[in-house]
């Protein structure tokens, strides 16, 4: 049973000219095993920054606070160590990697995460199974990672990875954006299958309540100007949908 604790996290983005721009201004959040937390907030409020910082993207600099996975200092780990420790980030904009086939990529990732190569006998089936369940033609296994994939196909591919890698904590950054109605259901079912295994904590970043009807959150957090400004249950999402972020923005000084 795992827990991810984010404590008073401050993060700046490194700009090309070498200066820094503060984005996260003290984030506190605890994601327990089997829990689903939704984060909603206006564009530019720092949601992806939070996700990338936890995953260890080099563009972001941690200026204060802690991130602990089962007590271990995540911020001291390299990107790959974090993934092997059990963190997973489904990216808002998955990256194209020319020259590397999906099949090769997934097998290498699985081997790295598990510490041993998957059994040849069962792996092929597991892979095609996961792809088929997410509505991805198994022929995609021979294509290069995300290269020429449509936006929706990239998102499905992220959730295929989620299912195969079975992380302790999964951060899904706008996985629902750009999906058609059927794909949204298929992807949500994928997330739910992982949740039903009972142990994975999910941090789901979204702009829309539609996905929250499929993937029921235990908690909803409102994220504005680099921090969480309100927390509640699923009903908070409905309220945001109706009212928008107006009242938080005036209070927070309207950074976004």
């Amino acid at each position: 049973m795992s827990v991810l604790e984010i404590r008073d996290l401050h993060v700046s983005v490194k700009l090309p000219d070498g200066s820094r721009k503060p984005i996260l201004a003290g984030v506190d959040l605890t994601v327990g095993a089997g829990q689903t937390h939704a984060i909603m907030g206006p564009n530019g409020s720092g949601k992806s920054t939070l996700a990338y910082s936890i995953a260890g993207h080099p563009k972001y600099q941690i200026t204060g606070g802690q991130v602990l996975l089962d007590g271990a200092d995540v911020l001291a780990m390299t990107v790959d160590e974090r993934a092997r420790a059990g963190l997973f980030l489904a990216m808002q904009y998955p990256v194209e990697v020319p020259g590397v086939s999906v099949a090769n990529f997934l097998r290498t990732a699985k081997t790295a995460i598990d510490g041993e190569a998957p059994k040849l006998r069962t792996w092929g089936k597991e892979l095609t199974g996961a792809m088929t369940r997410l509505g991805m033609d198994p022929a995609f296994a021979q294509r290069n990672v995300n290269e020429g994939f449509s936006g929706g196909e990239k998102k499905r591919h992220e959730i295929v990875q989620l299912e195969l890698l079975k992380p302790k904590v999964a951060i899904l950054d706008e996985t629902d954006s750009g999906l058609d109605i059927d794909a949204l259901r298929v992807v949500s079912e994928g997330v739910n299958r992982v949740r039903e295994q009972g142990d994975t904590g999910v941090l789901l970043i979204t702009h829309y309540t539609r996905i929250l009807r499929y993937v029921k959150p235990d908690f909803v957090h409102v994220f504005v100007a680099g921090r969480i400004v309100e927390e509640g249950g699923p009903e908070l999402a409905e309220k945001l949908e109706a009212e928008g972020y107006e009242r938080y923005l005036s209070g927070a000084g309207g950074r976004a």
């Binding site: 995953a55 260890g56 993207h57 080099p58 390299t78 990107v79 790959d80 974090r82 993934a83 092997r84 997973f88 980030l89 990216m91 998955p94 990256v95 194209e96 990697v97 020319p98 020259g99 590397v100 086939s101 090769n104 990529f105 290498t108 990732a109 790295a112 995460i113 290069n144 990672v145 990875q161 890698l165």
Partner: protein
């Protein structure tokens, strides 16, 4: 993230269509670096090749050949296929002390590949090699160079009518070697040549494969794999002269570069003469830049002198293995060194899969991965 190099058909920056050739070394000026054919090459590292010298080393080695193959070391005996296109090649063709000649008998179908392992000890030398595949014969030949020397070389390749040759030329030199080599092939009627250049070692390697056809219906596949590390200069200047009707050529060269001043140059000249109706040709050069400080030059060039062709095209693309790709792979638990391996292995796979000898394939993959690890962890 792929950047496509700018080039155009009309506004030529490459080599003129009619190549100047001569067997007289003095017909070529000593290069200054301003000449089109030398402007990419680091001349100061090969000055000693521009004037005649007394050889102090030669490539020696072993030949393993199945039945149907004969070989000999003969007094210098040019086969008439190669017409020197630069001073170094002309000097080597004039002054090589001997010729290594490998012949595959007409009609022979070899059970095993011919393996030629050449080792050079330090020194400077001229080399000449002839590979002759008889009519309707089928052969695979691997020429595998190692060691440390400065070598000016000419290789003449003859594929008889209806014959087929798969030639793999491995430049597996030590880090300080300098190797300039002109490969000239004549492909007979309905004959096929697959020429594969693997450039891994050496300080400066400049390989100039040229192809022309001895009759209609010939096919040339030219493929190349190069990995340039810090300070290494690997250059390919190829020229395919479609001088017969109904021939085809297909070119695919891939270079990966890593480290400060790693450099690859690829010049791909294809000429379709008026007589060469029914020609089908395509050439592609792809470069993968793994770190800052490395540079890939790519100049494809197509001269089409008849409208009656099946197809003609060229493309060139230089891509960069960037931090976002690295992050994505690492975010899936893959360590950095492994991530680079994955990308480079994937990049070369379609070419290395064509290496006809499994042990050689494995050795090349291992060598590339070792080279890759040399600067991994260093500044990216």
């Amino acid at each position: 993230m792929t950047a496509t190099l700018a080039h155009s058909h009309g506004n030529r920056t490459g080599t003129p269509p009619e190549r100047f050739t001569s067997s007289d070394p003095d017909a070529f000026e000593v290069p200054t670096g301003r000449e089109e054919e030398w402007r990419f090459t680091p001349l100061r590292r090969l000055r000693e090749l521009f004037t005649p010298f007394e050889p102090t080393t030669r490539i020696t080695g072993e030949v393993s050949a199945p039945e149907g193959v004969s070989w000999a070391i003969e007094p210098l005996s040019p086969a008439g296929v190669l017409a020197p296109a630069d001073r170094v090649s002309a000097l080597a063709l004039q002054r090589a002390p001997q010729s290594f000649v490998l012949r595959v008998a007409a009609g022979a179908r070899l059970d095993d590949p011919v393996l030629v392992t050449g080792v050079a000890s330090p020194g400077i030398g001229y080399e000449h090699m002839v590979i002759e595949v008889g009519e309707r014969a089928q052969a695979t030949v691997v020429v595998d160079y190692r060691g440390s020397a400065t070598i000016a070389e000419n290789v003449e390749i003859l594929v008889g009518d209806g014959g087929s040759l798969e030639l793999v030329s491995v430049q597996g030199w030590d880090a300080d070697a300098v190797h300039l080599s002109a490969h000239a092939a004549r492909i007979g009627r309905d004959a096929h040549l697959r020429h594969m250049a693997v450039n891994l070692g050496g300080a400066v390697v400049r390989l100039s494969p040229t192809v022309h056809f001895g009759g209609p219906g010939g096919r040339a596949d030219l493929i190349g794999v190069a990995f340039a590390g810090p300070g290494q200069h690997l250059e390919t200047r190829l020229y395919i002269d479609h001088d017969q009707p109904d021939c085809s050529s297909d070119v695919l060269y891939k270079n990966a570069l890593q480290g400060d001043d790693a450099r690859t140059v690829w010049i791909g000249d294809v000429r379709i003469r008026p007589v060469a109706t029914g020609t089908n040709t395509f050439e592609l050069n792809r470069n993968l830049v793994l770190t800052d400080g490395a540079r890939a030059d790519s100049v494809p060039n197509l001269e089409i002198e008849t409208g009656e062709i099946v197809g003609a095209g060229h493309a060139s693309a230089t891509g960069r293995f960037d931090d976002e790709q690295l992050f994505y792979l690492m975010a899936r638990g893959i360590p950095e060194a492994e991530a680079r391996k994955l990308v480079v292995r994937g990049f070369f796979a379609e070419l290395l899969d064509k290496v006809p000898v499994p042990e050689l394939h494995d050795r090349l993959v291992a060598t590339i991965e070792k080279r890759l690890a040399e600067v991994a962890g260093g500044p990216a």
